[in-house]
Assembly symmetry: C2
Homo-oligomer: 157 residues x 2
């Protein structure tokens, strides 16, 4: 499963006994079409609305939560920033631009396996999160104001 596809996700839903609804189809299509963006709930909501009118935000939250709990996608949870979702389930580092919020996948060489060492230390690794925060190439170019900007989330005015 290198990259998510519409049909692949639908097949997985069936395999897991989950129902195929118009809302889920729309959300799946939105996920696949925007997979490079590591889309957040609101983008998915907006895109899915274009396909089927009136998908409630609650449904998007519930569906994305269900999908990631089922392992179809992976949720990247942030503080004070909208959670994001990705289809690439292989272990990699997400490069998060603090300026524009863009997230880029960075696949590490397979030789590096600190996880195994962690396992040996008695820690049962269930999930990995490795991220670097900084500025992507585009923002580094035009980075005049070093003032860090973050998308508000928990409660910034």
């Amino acid at each position: 499963m290198e990259t998510i596809t519409r049909e692949g996700l639908i097949r997985q839903l069936k395999e897991k006994g989950l129902k195929i609804t118009p809302q889920r189809i729309a959300i799946i299509e939105a996920l696949v079409e925007n997979r490079l963006l590591h889309p957040g709930t609101n983008l998915i909501h907006a895109e899915a609305r274009k396909k089927t009118k009136n998908i409630s935000l609650s449904t998007v939250y519930a569906t994305l939560g269900e999908f990631s709990q089922q392992g179809l996608i992976k949720s990247l949870e942030f503080d004070r920033m909208e959670n994001r979702y990705e289809g690439d389930l292989e272990e990699h580092i997400n490069l998060v631009c603090r300026h524009c919020g863009k997230i880029t996948d960075y696949h590490i060489p397979p030789s590096i396996e600190p996880k195994d060492i962690a396992r040996r230390a008695g820690f049962l690794v269930m999930d990995a999160r490795m991220e670097y925060y900084g500025y992507c190439r585009d923002c580094t170019m035009k980075r005049k104001d070093l003032n860090v900007a973050r998308q508000p989330k928990k409660g910034v005015a």
Copy 2:
């Protein structure tokens, strides 16, 4: 700066022109004394209260934010879970137990430097976050219920 100390933090405050207040002293002491726990805002607030009566929660938030912005400590930001603070500023992986919330530092071998490769890819790395989620040794022992539990944060009932 391997580990934070009361005097070291106070000295850094002075160097940076920040004022030494009873509240900050109390917060510093709470941070140092509980550094192994990667304490959250509420623990710091509770501990600081024991040293100087009536430190407002707002002050604790502001102070911990100021300290981490100044680089005295590092904030570990979570979704739906209280943010945590650590004094170990060296690059390491935080082993976060999904069950009890305990956080353990895991220092990786210095040979591993995917960050340099990321830099070469045009990404300006300002900060790193590498975490594994799973179960610590203690919880693995008595782990009968695999139902993942998380400390509520953003809005769980």
